[in-house]
């Protein structure tokens, strides 16, 4: 990416500059490198940079309001429900219906402990078939919904889109089990290995990750779970919003334990818990360096300047390692200009589809994009 010439920038201009703000408030390696280079050009630059930085910090501290993401979503959801039209078709299966739902980013890495079930005799191999009720883990599939097991045997990340449009990035050597369509009550998945989740918010249908001996319930948030089998423990770190962590036996939804205590451990930003697999004890502490935990660092800055939409899809397929199905001819003639910084995959797909009036739907982990001939858009 080329940067504009900041040479004669005054402090006031720096304070308002998006790239400067980005480098101070949410620094990444590239931005830090660029700005230290700029500062090194002259003592004047150095002084301007420092004053602008302190000014920006003072402004942030003076004017920021704390409003948790969950609260924003709750409020937007409330507004949506007040709309009389929306009440009539509240259960439509259209993707549009969750226009109010933002994606919450989630990172999960889990041990293979739980997955032991599939290797046991009496189970139907790797792919749990529809109707299979799985014991021990509380994750019982609805008989009517097909179960899908995706395994990432490649050396790069594999991205899947679930039926609720939540996006899961499976790291190499990881497996995810999910129903082809989530039930009405909740959204349950089971993970072995390492994964990053972008969970669409839906307060009425909690998103539940079974990972090793831990159960992570998402209340619309971003967090990270690390559970390497060799460590014998599960770690959950929260970046924003809130999550609840339970032991498998203590989780209220567990089949085997109707009388389970309902006390999960509630985590808020910059907190983490460690659960020891042997003792099942959960201990809470504060994250030492929260900055590093941000999942957003994975997302590359992308600029598409008048690029045909099929090329953008191809690029996204490559970056995320996912399958996007679309009709080459329909989208061949649709050049669009867009700029992505730290959006989630879902936000990116949304932006592109909106630009050309296309729609998309998740199907068995893939994204299927359909639309009309888009000649005439994106001029």
């Amino acid at each position: 990416m080329t940067h504009k010439d900041y040479q004669n920038f005054e402090i006031e201009e720096l304070v308002r500059d998006p790239y400067f703000r980005h480098s101070v408030l949410t620094p990444d390696e590239q931005a830090v490198r660029f700005w230290s280079g700029w500062r090194a050009l002259s003592p004047l630059n150095e002084e301007k940079y420092e004053q602008a930085r302190l000014t920006l910090i003072a402004l942030q501290e003076a004017y920021s309001e704390t409003l948790p993401e969950t609260e924003v979503l709750k409020r937007l959801n409330r507004i949506r429900k007040l709309d009389p039209e929306e009440r009539k078709r509240s259960d439509a299966g259209s993707l549009n219906k969750w226009w109010w739902g933002a994606a919450a980013a989630v990172v999960v890495a889990a041990a293979g402990l739980w997955w032991g079930y599939s290797e046991k005799p009496g189970h139907a191999g790797e792919t749990a078939l529809s109707g299979t009720v799985i014991q021990n883990d509380g994750y019982a599939a609805t008989p009517s919904s097909g179960e899908i097991l995706k395994e990432n045997n490649t050396a790069s990340n594999l991205t899947l889109m679930l039926s609720d449009s939540s996006v899961v990035t499976l790291l190499p050597g990881s497996r995810l089990k999910f129903p082809s369509v989530f039930g009405a009550e909740d959204r349950k998945v089971a993970l072995s290995g390492d994964a990053f989740f972008d969970v669409t918010s839906n307060p009425g249908r909690p998103f539940i990750v079974y990972a090793g001996d831990a159960v992570v319930k998402v209340l619309g948030t971003s967090f990270r779970v690390t559970a390497f089998e060799s460590d014998g423990r599960v770690t959950v770190k929260v970046l924003s919003g809130r999550v609840s962590v339970y032991t498998l036996s203590g989780f209220p939804g567990t089949v085997k334990s109707p009388g389970a205590n309902k006390e999960g451990v509630l985590l808020v930003p910059n907190e983490e818990v460690v659960m020891d697999a042997a003792t099942r004890k959960i201990e809470k502490s504060v994250i030492a360096s929260p900055q590093e935990e941000s999942g957003k660092a994975r997302f590359r800055e992308l600029i598409f300047d008048d690029v045909p939409i099929f090329q953008i899809f191809t690029e996204l397929e490559r970056i995320y390692g996912m399958e996007i199905e679309f009709d080459q001819d329909t989208f061949r003639q649709c050049p669009i200009t867009t700029y992505f910084r730290d959006e989630s995959l879902l936000e990116r797909i949304n932006t592109i589809c909106q630009a050309v009036g296309a729609t998309y739907r998740p199907e068995n982990g893939k994204i299927i994009v359909s639309g009309i001939d888009c000649t005439g858009y994106g001029k």
């Binding site: 003072a58 501290e61 507004i79 630009a355």
Partner: protein, 202 residues
């Protein structure tokens, strides 16, 4: 000239979403409402320190926009349109609820406790300067504070500020110029002093 790439692209996206919303596209409206919830809430909280009232005003505004979508005009600038709308809403509702009498009574208050909520890590000498600047900002008149806030926190252009606050572009430029000069005269970091206090980062 000041507009950077992403804001230029963003403006275009917002305009496109606004156009679709006017034609009744719910998804576009959903994206707009979500995108602007935080900026609107932040502004509303400066004008009334009442969280519930701020939320209600935004809710009302959103519902009215959707109801009246067919009657809305094209919007060249969605953000300033919405900021202005929420400001007007707060004035109107405050007068209706007898919170104050005249539009001129509209307050501008940065939360005094905000510093406890959010304190960005800084060295001791940096902390002194940051707190000093915050104190200076708090001593400005409410319109000066608002203009600084719109310019440097909401990142608006002169024309946008004049639309939101209902001032001429020239008075925005004058007031802003004077305010910045005032702050600068009180909050200076002489370069040699800077070296002494190690304000060159770490």
């Amino acid at each position: 000239m000041n507009e950077s790439l992403d804001t230029a692209v963003e403006y275009e996206q917002h305009k496109l979403l606004w156009e679709k919303f006017r034609l009744g596209d719910k998804a576009s409206f959903g994206i707009l409402t979500e995108k602007f919830y935080r900026p609107l809430y932040n502004y509303a909280m400066k004008l009334t320190r009442d969280d519930e009232f701020a939320a209600d005003c935004i809710q009302d505004l959103y519902l009215q926009l959707w109801e009246r979508r067919g009657f809305l005009g094209k919007s060249e600038n969605v953000k300033s349109y919405l900021l202005k709308a929420v400001r007007n809403k707060i004035i109107k509702e405050s007068i209706r609820l007898r919170r104050f009498r005249e539009p001129e009574d509209l307050d501008f208050i940065a939360d005094k406790d905000a510093s406890i909520e959010l304190e960005i890590v800084a060295t001791e000498s940096e902390r002194q300067k940051i707190d000093h600047l915050k104190k200076l900002l708090g001593e400005l008149s409410k319109r000066q504070q608002e203009i600084i806030y719109l310019r440097f926190y909401q990142n608006l252009e002169f024309a946008e500020i004049s639309e939101v606050m209902g001032l001429t572009r020239q008075s925005v430029a004058n007031l802003l110029h004077r305010t910045i000069r005032d702050i600068r005269s009180k909050w200076i970091i002489p370069f040699f002093f800077c070296i002494l206090l190690e304000c060159i980062r770490l």
